[in-house]
Symmetry: C2
Subunit: 133 residues, 2 copies
Protein backbone atom coordinates (compact mmCIF):
# COMPACT_ATOMS: atom_id res chain seq x y z
CA UNK A 1 0.00 0.00 0.00
CA UNK A 2 1.46 3.22 -1.26
CA UNK A 3 0.75 6.81 -0.31
CA UNK A 4 -0.59 9.30 -2.76
CA UNK A 5 -1.85 12.83 -2.60
CA UNK A 6 -5.30 11.57 -3.58
CA UNK A 7 -5.59 8.87 -0.96
CA UNK A 8 -4.51 11.29 1.77
CA UNK A 9 -6.97 13.94 0.66
CA UNK A 10 -9.85 11.49 0.40
CA UNK A 11 -9.10 9.97 3.78
CA UNK A 12 -8.84 13.38 5.42
CA UNK A 13 -12.14 14.35 3.86
CA UNK A 14 -14.18 11.38 5.12
CA UNK A 15 -12.52 11.32 8.51
CA UNK A 16 -13.26 15.00 9.02
CA UNK A 17 -16.99 14.99 8.45
CA UNK A 18 -19.99 13.70 10.32
CA UNK A 19 -22.74 13.93 7.71
CA UNK A 20 -22.52 10.33 6.49
CA UNK A 21 -21.58 11.29 2.91
CA UNK A 22 -22.06 9.17 -0.19
CA UNK A 23 -19.14 8.51 -2.52
CA UNK A 24 -20.49 11.23 -4.81
CA UNK A 25 -20.53 13.73 -1.93
CA UNK A 26 -16.93 12.94 -1.05
CA UNK A 27 -16.06 13.26 -4.72
CA UNK A 28 -17.65 16.69 -5.02
CA UNK A 29 -15.90 17.87 -1.92
CA UNK A 30 -12.45 16.53 -2.78
CA UNK A 31 -12.78 17.86 -6.30
CA UNK A 32 -12.77 21.42 -5.00
CA UNK A 33 -9.17 21.17 -3.88
CA UNK A 34 -8.10 18.57 -6.41
CA UNK A 35 -10.09 19.11 -9.59
CA UNK A 36 -8.77 16.07 -11.43
CA UNK A 37 -9.59 13.30 -8.98
CA UNK A 38 -11.68 10.66 -10.61
CA UNK A 39 -14.78 9.16 -9.08
CA UNK A 40 -13.20 5.74 -9.46
CA UNK A 41 -10.35 6.78 -7.21
CA UNK A 42 -12.80 7.97 -4.58
CA UNK A 43 -14.60 4.63 -4.68
CA UNK A 44 -11.33 2.73 -4.56
CA UNK A 45 -10.08 4.65 -1.54
CA UNK A 46 -13.34 4.45 0.33
CA UNK A 47 -13.38 0.70 -0.26
CA UNK A 48 -9.88 0.45 1.10
CA UNK A 49 -10.70 2.45 4.21
CA UNK A 50 -13.69 0.19 4.81
CA UNK A 51 -11.53 -2.91 4.34
CA UNK A 52 -9.05 -1.54 6.89
CA UNK A 53 -11.84 -0.85 9.38
CA UNK A 54 -11.07 2.86 9.36
CA UNK A 55 -14.58 3.85 8.28
CA UNK A 56 -17.95 2.12 8.01
CA UNK A 57 -20.13 1.56 4.98
CA UNK A 58 -23.83 2.11 5.56
CA UNK A 59 -26.17 0.40 3.11
CA UNK A 60 -29.44 2.27 2.84
CA UNK A 61 -32.26 0.66 0.82
CA UNK A 62 -32.69 2.32 -2.60
CA UNK A 63 -29.96 4.85 -1.96
CA UNK A 64 -26.25 5.14 -2.58
CA UNK A 65 -24.05 3.73 0.16
CA UNK A 66 -22.97 6.17 2.81
CA UNK A 67 -19.71 6.27 4.73
CA UNK A 68 -19.17 6.96 8.38
CA UNK A 69 -15.96 7.85 10.18
CA UNK A 70 -17.51 7.01 13.54
CA UNK A 71 -16.39 3.47 14.20
CA UNK A 72 -17.88 2.92 17.66
CA UNK A 73 -20.89 0.67 17.79
CA UNK A 74 -24.01 2.44 16.62
CA UNK A 75 -26.89 2.26 14.19
CA UNK A 76 -28.54 4.71 11.82
CA UNK A 77 -31.81 6.49 11.37
CA UNK A 78 -32.47 7.75 7.85
CA UNK A 79 -35.08 10.44 7.28
CA UNK A 80 -37.20 9.51 4.28
CA UNK A 81 -37.99 13.16 3.62
CA UNK A 82 -34.79 15.16 3.97
CA UNK A 83 -32.33 12.27 3.60
CA UNK A 84 -30.50 13.14 6.81
CA UNK A 85 -28.81 10.39 8.79
CA UNK A 86 -28.63 10.30 12.58
CA UNK A 87 -26.61 8.03 14.81
CA UNK A 88 -28.04 5.90 17.58
CA UNK A 89 -25.59 4.66 20.16
CA UNK A 90 -26.78 1.22 20.99
CA UNK A 91 -24.66 -1.49 22.49
CA UNK A 92 -27.80 -2.77 24.17
CA UNK A 93 -29.54 -3.37 20.85
CA UNK A 94 -26.54 -5.23 19.53
CA UNK A 95 -26.52 -7.54 22.49
CA UNK A 96 -30.21 -8.27 22.00
CA UNK A 97 -29.69 -8.90 18.30
CA UNK A 98 -26.79 -11.22 18.78
CA UNK A 99 -28.72 -13.20 21.32
CA UNK A 100 -31.85 -13.46 19.21
CA UNK A 101 -30.11 -14.27 15.93
CA UNK A 102 -27.22 -16.47 16.90
CA UNK A 103 -28.74 -18.63 19.55
CA UNK A 104 -31.68 -19.83 17.50
CA UNK A 105 -29.87 -20.43 14.22
CA UNK A 106 -26.89 -22.34 12.95
CA UNK A 107 -25.65 -19.13 11.36
CA UNK A 108 -22.22 -17.66 12.02
CA UNK A 109 -23.16 -14.02 11.80
CA UNK A 110 -20.41 -11.67 10.71
CA UNK A 111 -22.30 -8.45 10.33
CA UNK A 112 -25.70 -7.00 11.04
CA UNK A 113 -26.99 -4.41 8.61
CA UNK A 114 -29.61 -2.35 10.35
CA UNK A 115 -31.13 0.91 9.19
CA UNK A 116 -34.31 2.46 10.53
CA UNK A 117 -36.30 4.55 8.06
CA UNK A 118 -38.65 7.31 9.15
CA UNK A 119 -39.06 11.00 9.65
CA UNK A 120 -36.69 13.10 11.65
CA UNK A 121 -38.04 15.45 14.27
CA UNK A 122 -38.13 18.54 12.05
CA UNK A 123 -39.64 16.75 9.05
CA UNK A 124 -42.27 14.94 11.10
CA UNK A 125 -45.53 16.83 11.09
CA UNK A 126 -48.14 14.10 11.33
CA UNK A 127 -46.58 12.19 14.20
CA UNK A 128 -47.03 8.71 12.80
CA UNK A 129 -44.74 5.71 13.19
CA UNK A 130 -44.26 2.50 15.07
CA UNK A 131 -43.53 4.24 18.37
CA UNK A 132 -47.27 4.50 18.80
CA UNK A 133 -47.74 0.73 18.97
Amino acid sequence: MRNSKQSETIKANVMGRYDHPTAAMVYESVRREMPNVSLGTVYRNLDRLVANDEILRISVPNQADRFDATISEHYHLVCEKCGGVSDVESARVTRALKRAFCESSGFAISEIQLVAMGRCESCNSNKGGICQN
Copy 2:
Protein backbone atom coordinates in the same frame (compact mmCIF):
# COMPACT_ATOMS: atom_id res chain seq x y z
CA MET B 1 -56.69 -1.99 -10.69
CA ARG B 2 -57.40 -4.45 -13.44
CA ASN B 3 -56.76 -8.17 -13.66
CA SER B 4 -54.55 -9.66 -16.30
CA LYS B 5 -53.15 -13.08 -17.03
CA GLN B 6 -49.69 -11.70 -16.24
CA SER B 7 -50.52 -10.20 -12.89
CA GLU B 8 -52.26 -13.40 -11.79
CA THR B 9 -49.38 -15.57 -12.88
CA ILE B 10 -46.77 -13.35 -11.23
CA LYS B 11 -48.72 -13.19 -7.99
CA ALA B 12 -49.25 -16.96 -7.94
CA ASN B 13 -45.54 -17.44 -8.53
CA VAL B 14 -44.28 -15.30 -5.64
CA MET B 15 -46.97 -16.41 -3.26
CA GLY B 16 -46.16 -20.05 -3.93
CA ARG B 17 -42.47 -20.01 -3.16
CA TYR B 18 -40.36 -19.70 -0.06
CA ASP B 19 -36.89 -19.08 -1.47
CA HIS B 20 -36.99 -15.28 -1.25
CA PRO B 21 -36.61 -14.76 -5.02
CA THR B 22 -35.29 -11.65 -6.73
CA ALA B 23 -37.31 -9.99 -9.50
CA ALA B 24 -35.05 -11.73 -12.02
CA MET B 25 -35.77 -15.12 -10.46
CA VAL B 26 -39.52 -14.53 -10.62
CA TYR B 27 -39.09 -13.37 -14.22
CA GLU B 28 -37.20 -16.52 -15.22
CA SER B 29 -39.80 -18.71 -13.57
CA VAL B 30 -42.85 -16.95 -14.98
CA ARG B 31 -41.28 -16.87 -18.41
CA ARG B 32 -41.40 -20.63 -18.62
CA GLU B 33 -45.18 -20.67 -18.75
CA MET B 34 -45.55 -17.22 -20.35
CA PRO B 35 -42.55 -16.64 -22.63
CA ASN B 36 -43.44 -13.06 -23.53
CA VAL B 37 -43.74 -11.47 -20.10
CA SER B 38 -41.48 -8.52 -19.81
CA LEU B 39 -39.20 -7.87 -16.88
CA GLY B 40 -40.83 -4.48 -16.45
CA THR B 41 -44.19 -6.17 -15.89
CA VAL B 42 -42.65 -8.37 -13.23
CA TYR B 43 -41.22 -5.33 -11.45
CA ARG B 44 -44.49 -3.45 -11.70
CA ASN B 45 -46.50 -6.31 -10.28
CA LEU B 46 -44.05 -7.01 -7.47
CA ASP B 47 -44.14 -3.32 -6.58
CA ARG B 48 -47.91 -3.44 -6.51
CA LEU B 49 -47.97 -6.51 -4.28
CA VAL B 50 -45.55 -4.79 -1.91
CA ALA B 51 -47.69 -1.64 -1.89
CA ASN B 52 -50.74 -3.76 -1.05
CA ASP B 53 -48.88 -5.48 1.79
CA GLU B 54 -49.30 -8.85 0.13
CA ILE B 55 -45.57 -9.54 0.03
CA LEU B 56 -42.44 -8.03 1.58
CA ARG B 57 -39.44 -6.47 -0.10
CA ILE B 58 -36.12 -7.41 1.47
CA SER B 59 -33.21 -5.04 0.79
CA VAL B 60 -29.90 -6.87 0.95
CA PRO B 61 -26.68 -4.81 0.77
CA ASN B 62 -25.03 -5.08 -2.65
CA GLN B 63 -27.62 -7.46 -3.97
CA ALA B 64 -30.87 -7.24 -5.86
CA ASP B 65 -33.97 -6.86 -3.73
CA ARG B 66 -35.68 -10.07 -2.71
CA PHE B 67 -39.37 -10.71 -2.21
CA ASP B 68 -41.04 -12.70 0.51
CA ALA B 69 -44.58 -14.04 0.64
CA THR B 70 -44.32 -14.61 4.38
CA ILE B 71 -45.85 -11.50 5.89
CA SER B 72 -45.62 -12.36 9.58
CA GLU B 73 -43.03 -10.47 11.55
CA HIS B 74 -39.57 -11.88 10.94
CA TYR B 75 -36.03 -11.00 9.89
CA HIS B 76 -33.53 -12.49 7.49
CA LEU B 77 -30.18 -14.17 7.56
CA VAL B 78 -28.27 -14.06 4.27
CA CYS B 79 -25.45 -16.52 3.69
CA GLU B 80 -22.49 -14.69 2.17
CA LYS B 81 -21.28 -17.88 0.53
CA CYS B 82 -24.27 -19.63 -1.02
CA GLY B 83 -26.61 -16.65 -1.11
CA GLY B 84 -29.39 -18.52 0.69
CA VAL B 85 -31.83 -16.60 2.86
CA SER B 86 -33.30 -17.94 6.10
CA ASP B 87 -36.11 -16.55 8.18
CA VAL B 88 -35.85 -15.71 11.85
CA GLU B 89 -39.11 -15.37 13.72
CA SER B 90 -38.51 -12.56 16.09
CA ALA B 91 -41.21 -10.46 17.67
CA ARG B 92 -38.93 -10.12 20.66
CA VAL B 93 -36.20 -8.42 18.63
CA THR B 94 -38.70 -6.01 17.13
CA ARG B 95 -39.90 -4.98 20.55
CA ALA B 96 -36.33 -4.34 21.66
CA LEU B 97 -35.59 -2.36 18.51
CA LYS B 98 -38.66 -0.19 18.78
CA ARG B 99 -37.84 0.55 22.37
CA ALA B 100 -34.20 1.38 21.69
CA PHE B 101 -34.77 3.48 18.58
CA CYS B 102 -37.97 5.35 19.24
CA GLU B 103 -37.63 6.26 22.85
CA SER B 104 -34.27 7.94 22.57
CA SER B 105 -34.85 9.85 19.33
CA GLY B 106 -37.33 12.29 17.92
CA PHE B 107 -37.71 10.00 14.93
CA ALA B 108 -41.03 8.60 13.79
CA ILE B 109 -39.83 5.26 12.54
CA SER B 110 -41.85 3.68 9.78
CA GLU B 111 -39.74 0.71 8.90
CA ILE B 112 -36.71 -1.15 10.18
CA GLN B 113 -34.49 -2.74 7.55
CA LEU B 114 -32.49 -5.45 9.22
CA VAL B 115 -30.45 -8.14 7.52
CA ALA B 116 -27.82 -10.29 9.19
CA MET B 117 -24.98 -11.45 6.97
CA GLY B 118 -22.97 -14.54 7.69
CA ARG B 119 -22.51 -18.20 6.89
CA CYS B 120 -25.27 -20.72 7.01
CA GLU B 121 -24.76 -23.98 8.85
CA SER B 122 -23.70 -25.98 5.82
CA CYS B 123 -21.36 -23.31 4.43
CA ASN B 124 -19.75 -22.62 7.78
CA SER B 125 -16.59 -24.64 8.22
CA ASN B 126 -14.40 -22.41 10.37
CA LYS B 127 -17.03 -21.61 13.00
CA GLY B 128 -16.34 -17.88 13.26
CA GLY B 129 -18.81 -15.13 13.90
CA ILE B 130 -20.14 -12.79 16.55
CA CYS B 131 -21.84 -15.56 18.52
CA GLN B 132 -18.44 -16.26 20.04
CA ASN B 133 -18.28 -12.88 21.75
